[in-house]
């Protein structure tokens, strides 16, 4: 094949947005609407009462709500003032999520699973959300909120068996890895079609209101899928019926290889979109455990007391590839993950706890080791149920089950045709 030297220059009037940080570039985030992080201005954004008129959240949607300063202090009206035990639990859940991700990535590379997706750098969003919600508030995750399941105490072995699609998989190998489902843990089935779960969350919230429960639904989408119609359906319906829902946009800057500007266009922020629907809207530092916790608490209270839905943009950064099938060095600057100005959620909470005198490096290291050992031990148990590439141990007859409540005649005939 002859290599052609191509020019990526745009010689037309058609505007095609491009990120600043393509491979080879020095990371530069000046194109993002980011406040001055060194001065603590963002920590002075007001925390209105949750039942505030939605349009009064305008500066919260265009600004960036933060609690933790980069040097580890908790500051400003959004500080949820959590006790040290709760903070340590949050740290532990984030570190557990990170440890599980690390192990599952390795086993995918060893060929034992077909696929995996890490949430490195985004752990605070799932973990703090789960801790701020009630355990029976239904969450409608996208595929990067495994921290919700782990925080809610879903058995790690079951989670790993799902990734391995083996005989221990509660879903009997029907779904691809990471498409978990647990009604028991109020964790909705992940479908992997992007954005589709958003209107389900709103329907669920409408059902909560209809039945008079105080339940809240909490949905997550990446910033890329806010371009899907489903996102707009969800915002319209939650606005019209004042659904007790929390609509989270995890803006991790990258939708596979497309930078956030492809979905954002000329929008000021993603959170700002909520205002057009008359929904309270917040843009928060997604790498700030305390800010996520405070925002979800605020939105849940607003929803539970009849104020309707809140749109929350979690401003964060996807440190790894989209999935095990992706290589981000092909499309973004190599140093970008480490140059992210809002730091790392685990490091930041750790620093905060240390500053409080409630944590130290030795304990941190020991916890890391303890979690890695627990994850490895659990993985070995999980692998004893088989792997996708060795033997799944899943009965082929189950393929025809759960298509319908009762197996219709034509599926019975097809099962016989397969000889089982």
């Amino acid at each position: 094949m002859v290599a052609h030297k191509t020019s990526r220059k745009n010689i037309s009037n058609l505007h095609v947005p491009e990120p600043l940080n393509r491979p080879g570039a020095t990371p530069d985030f000046s194109d993002l609407h980011m406040p001055d992080l060194v001065s603590d201005k963002t920590h002075t954004l007001p925390r209105p009462i949750p039942l505030v008129d939605a349009f009064e959240t305008e500066q919260l949607a265009s600004g960036l709500v933060r609690v933790l300063t980069l040097d580890g202090r908790a500051k400003g009206p959004w500080d949820p003032k959590l006790d040290a035990d709760t903070l340590r639990l949050g740290l532990r859940n984030m570190m557990l999520t990170r440890s599980v991700d690390k192990r599952m990535f390795i086993i995918q590379r060893q060929g034992k699973a077909s696929f995996y997706m890490k949430s490195l750098g985004e752990e605070a969003i799932a973990v703090a959300s789960a801790m701020a919600l009630k355990d029976d508030d239904m969450v409608f995750p996208s595929y990067r909120q495994q921290g919700l399941l782990l925080t809610r105490g879903y058995p790690l072995r079951d989670l790993m068996c799902q990734v391995l699609s083996n005989s221990g998989d509660k879903l009997e190998g029907k779904a691809i890895p990471i498409c978990y489902s647990s009604r028991e843990k109020a964790f909705y089935s992940i479908g992997a079609s992007l954005g589709t779960q958003m209107s389900h969350a709103v329907g669920w919230a409408m059902a909560c209101a209809y039945k008079g429960t105080d339940g809240v639904s909490c949905a997550f989408t990446g910033e890329g899928a806010t371009a899907e119609g489903d996102f707009h359906y969800a915002l319209t319906f939650s606005s019209t019926y004042r659904a007790p829902a929390i609509i989270n946009i995890v803006n991790n800057q990258w939708a596979i290889s497309s930078f956030q500007g492809i979905a954002a266009g000329a929008s000021k922020t993603f959170a700002y979109r909520g205002l057009g629907f008359g929904l309270a809207s917040l843009r928060i530092d997604g790498n700030d455990f305390l800010a996520v916790y405070a925002a979800i608490k605020w939105a849940a209270e607003r929803a539970r007391t009849g104020g309707g839905a809140t749109v929350i943009e979690h401003f964060t950064y996807r440190k790894e590839g989209h999935s095990t099938s992706d290589d981000p060095s092909k499309y973004r600057a190599k140093d970008e993950p480490n140059a992210w100005p809002l730091g790392d959620p685990v490091d930041r909470l750790k620093r905060h706890l240390i500053l409080m005198g409630e944590w130290d490096d030795e304990r941190h290291e020991a916890l890391e080791k303890e979690l890695d050992a627990y994850v490895l031990k659990t993985y070995k148990e999980a692998e004893s149920f088989g792997t996708l590439t060795t033997q799944t141990g899943i009965n082929p007859a189950t393929m025809f089950e759960k298509v319908y409540e009762d197996m219709p005649e034509h599926l019975r005939r097809q099962r016989q045709e397969l000889g089982i």
Binding site: A175, R183, S189, M198, H200, M206, A207, C208, K211, V403
Partner: protein, 347 residues
């Protein structure tokens, strides 16, 4: 008779709109988890009046208007269904179901499977379908084959008030998602496929005599609309009545099978009939290529090959968009169906 009718039902003459309305009313009265929403279905009662009076009787929270957002209507219904409600949503015309297609086939149809039964979507999606009302390209389509192709949903098309009510109640009670197409040309009366013949209504028609209360009709049970020995006609919806008129016009002793439920399909009834008659004609309004008729032909040839005396034939809509001015040239009407019957009966 497999129909489960409550004891000594009180009967009432209804058209198909009234029968559908009655099914919704019966279920809403019985089950507080049944709620109805869609475009214009609330105060106004629907553009075809199928939900008239339901909001007045059951409350604003049980029957309400939805934004013009078919994807949002089905998407929120899936979420409600997962919660445990039994939403019945209306898509104003089948032609407008496509924005909801992803929600139907990627979500409603797969939720039970991908979660291995952890979450389900017991929802009913009602939508008027078919031509014969000068609806042109955008108000006449018959997209049933797009749905029968999807594992995980059921596709139902009634042809008369009695079936419409019993099947709709069954659909609402079913724990799987059901797409329920209502042939709008039949709402007010049977239609013989000849636009020049005087309009009929359901008044006095035996299939317009409907129990007032609760009853259900099982899916996967076709209805023998007319028993016969020499030819099997497989059809559903509006074409059942065109078939009846064509059989009368040609004087052939044909067995007309109203499939009612396309998925699941009553293959036994089809095989039994074609094995008996040796001839099979399939009628549908939808476009021909990859239409449901193709599926029927495949099943009939596989199961009845040695009984067949003639090639299986089908009369369908042409493979064009549904034209406005040339509606009756497009519609597989009385004349085309009669001609096909005559041809298939030739030795």
């Amino acid at each position: 008779m497999s129909d489960q009718v409550s004891q000594k039902p009180k009967m009432k003459q209804m058209n198909m709109i009234q029968a559908i309305n009655s099914a919704l009313d019966v279920k809403m009265s019985q089950d507080p988890d049944v709620l109805v929403f869609g475009e214009d279905v609330g105060f106004f009662g629907g553009v075809f009046r199928c939900t008239a009076g339901l909001q007045e009787k059951h409350g604003l929270h049980r029957c309400f208007d939805a934004p013009i957002s078919e994807g949002g209507i089905v998407g929120t219904a899936v979420g409600m269904g997962a919660f445990g409600l039994r939403p019945v949503v209306e898509i104003q015309f089948a032609d407008y179901i496509y924005p909801a297609f992803d929600q139907i086939c990627s979500e409603a149809a797969r939720l039970r499977y991908r979660s291995n039964g952890d979450f389900t979507a017991p929802i009913t999606i009602r939508s008027p379908m078919g031509g014969g009302i000068h609806g042109g390209t955008s108000h006449s389509q018959s997209p049933e084959a797009l749905f029968t192709h999807i594992a995980g949903i059921k596709t139902i098309i009634p042809s008369n008030p009695y079936d419409a009510k019993g099947l709709l109640i069954k659909a609402i009670e079913d724990n799987d998602p059901v797409v329920f197409f209502e042939p709008k040309r039949l709402y007010n009366g049977p239609f013989d496929g000849d636009p020049h013949s005087p309009a009929k209504n359901w008044g006095g028609h035996e299939l317009g005599l409907v129990p007032e209360g609760h009853y259900t009709i099982d899916f996967e049970k076709a209805r023998i609309h007319r028993a016969g020995n020499d030819l099997t006609i497989l059809c559903y919806g509006t074409m059942v009545w065109v078939a009846e008129a064509a059989v009368e016009a040609t004087g052939v002793d044909a067995e007309i099978i109203d499939l009612r439920s396309l998925s699941p399909l009553d293959l036994d009834a089809i095989v039994k009939s074609v094995t008996k008659t040796g001839r099979c004609l399939i009628l549908h309004e939808a476009t021909r290529t990859s239409g449901f008729g193709a599926e029927l032909i495949a099943e009939v040839q596989e199961h009845c090959f040695y009984a067949l005396e003639k090639p299986i034939m089908r009369v369908t809509g042409w493979d064009t968009p549904y034209p406005h001015a040339l509606e009756w040239e497009y519609f597989p009407g009385l004349e085309r169906c009669s001609r096909a019957i005559t041809r298939i009966m030739e030795d």
